[in-house]
């Protein structure tokens, strides 16, 4: 019998801003994986477009000494998530693996969590999502299609975690580092994103999180995010 996981996983991510090119492959990957509702020009203009992961861009300086800061922003899966205590029905809560989970079925749509998220990564289903046929054929059966009135956000591709864990269980082994990859991490051409178990000190993400370049986004708020950003170098 192989060794079984004794300690729960604590999933985390490291994003190397020195590698990130801002190419948005992760954004497309997320749409493809997670059945994000399609926007239309109208809905996008009204601020109803969905991007669980987005590339924030901030220009700094003026021509010709100008820089742009690209930063992929997704749910930071905070350990002390501000979205959690405000939900009156426990629709957003922490699961055993430290993921900040949104239970779509339980959500009544107060949208308080979205207000209280300092990273603005939560999206609300203002309407029932529709896909013109036959685009529905693409929908990922592993991922719930969220109905109207429900909040949603990045899940760290929990369906992929689940699949990998089940597979490992079937084979009576523990998960290997890098075996689970959310869609964004998987797609990143510059390999700027690394996903893994923060409870495993040998995992790549743990080592990157320890590196001197690692910072967390708005750490001063005390949210204890599990996404680590590695600063750009010179």
């Amino acid at each position: 019998m192989d060794q079984q996981d004794t300690k729960p996983h604590r999933w985390g991510m490291a994003i190397d801003l020195d590698r990130c090119t801002g190419c948005e492959a992760c954004v497309a990957a997320c749409h493809a994986e997670n059945n994000l509702p399609l926007s239309t020009p109208d809905s996008a203009a009204k601020g109803r477009a969905f991007h669980w992961i987005r590339i924030d861009r901030y220009y700094e300086g003026a021509f010709p000494d100008i820089k742009v800061k690209f930063m992929p922003v997704l749910c930071q899966q905070c350990d002390e998530a501000p979205c959690e205590p405000v939900c009156p029905v426990y629709a957003t809560y922490h699961n055993a693996e430290g993921l900040n989970v949104q239970v779509y079925n339980r959500c009544v749509g107060t949208r308080y969590c979205a207000n209280n998220c300092p990273y603005s990564v939560r999206f609300f289903n203002w309407f029932e999502p529709v896909w013109p046929e036959p685009l529905t054929l693409q929908l990922n059966p592993d991922v719930f299609v969220r109905p109207v009135g429900v909040m949603e956000k990045c899940t760290f591709c929990s369906q992929r975690i689940k699949r990998a864990e089940l597979e490992a269980k079937q084979e009576s082994r523990s998960l290997r580092d890098g075996e689970v990859q959310p869609a964004c991490v998987q797609s990143c051409p510059a390999e700027a994103m690394v996903f893994g178990d923060l409870n495993d000190p040998a995992s790549r993400v743990s080592r990157l999180a320890q590196s001197g370049r690692a910072t967390r986004f708005m750490e001063d708020l005390g949210t204890q995010p599990k996404v680590f950003y590695l600063k750009r170098g010179e």
Binding site: S43, K46, G47, R48, R54, D56, R57, Y58, V73, P82, P85, V86, C87, P88, V89, Y90, R106, C107, V108, G109, T110, R111, Y112, A114, N115, N116, P118, Y119, S120, F123, F124, N125, W126, F127, E128, V148, G149, V150, M151, M218, L221
Partner: protein
Amino acid sequence: MATVAEIPDPRVRTELWRPLSRAGSRYWIAVTLCAVIVAAGLAAWGYQIAKGLGIAGYRRPVFWAFYEADFVFWIGISHAGTLISAILRLTHAGWRKPVTRAAEAITVFALMIGAILPLIHLGRVWLFYWLIPYPNTRLLWPNFRSPLLWDLTAIFTYLIASSLYLYLPLIPDLAQLATRSRGWQRNLYRLLALKWVGSDRQWHALERAMKLMAAIVLAIAVSVHTVVAWDFAMAIVPMWHSTIFGPYFVVGAIFSGIAALVIVMASLRRFLHLESYLRPLHFDNLGKLLLLMSLLWIYFTVAEHLTIWYGKQPAEYSVFESRIYGDFAPYFWSMVILNFVVPFMLLSIRRLRSIRTVTICAVTVLIGMWIERFLIVVNALSRPRLASAWGAYSPTWVEITITAASFVTMTLLYLLFARLFPVIAVWEYEDVAHG
């Protein structure tokens, strides 16, 4: 020693009860008009439930907007009655007597409206009962850490307490009315009179109960609006996360409550011909109160904004800047004019203080306070911490209809109330008029 009142003057009763027996065609036209608008509001809500909240102007990042502003506004208005009448009752302010019931009725109606608005705002209103702790097999349980649940309990308590607070002193009047009316009204009054016989035991119990209720309701009212303020202040949204939001909201609530009361009184005086009961004295006193609250309000407003300006924390300052100099500046400055400049100029000069000016100020204050609620909700949300998520909100016909309907609901409820119940406590009034 013994101060015993004179035997009542039947004229008072006749005058105060006149509206209950007579309703002209103008009344019914008004009721119909109001009912139509309220129905339109309900239809808009129904349409929103069918289609989704998206037909309103809501968007990321402004996840709360009109409905929440309306909610805070109406909960604020609800402080008209209970709080004002309780304060006056506890301080034995004799002039309160013709004012209290009018005020308490505002409370109950405003609370009813206010309590519905959170439902309108829900994404899945058909599941609202999931906020209530009840045994179930679906692992549903409300989160008592959420300020929304505090809200739920606070409003529940307040609605019950203020309804009873309105109802208890109404009982003697109902008992009298029961003897003097016919048909369904007689049955209604008799049912509601709870077999009141007018014994001194009952009068004594009523007096004791009302004194206690005044104290309790005062505590509840303060806590309710504090909890409403905490809906915002508990969140780490820049310009929401403020320690003075509790008292600031309470002050604003009393402020708008008095304004609403003045408007209601002015209307009652005009339409029910109660000139000899709602006298300039009452308006003058309420005008002074309004002025006091206006000063308190500007004090809190300055205190709130000055610290932000001086501290210049980027996230908060972004909101501040858009409010003072930016997109929201027109709203902010008109709010200051409506809530402070106009009332201060008209009310602080004694010569200018009249029923007309007090009423004008009340109207400006109501508008100003609605803008304040709108600013607090929308302005802060449209400037979240991350500039990349900033966005502008504009309402659609849905929110506008529902908001309009909320105001008309108040009118409608008042129209019906004034038709069914004496808006001035006859027994109390007699007491003071001849005591």
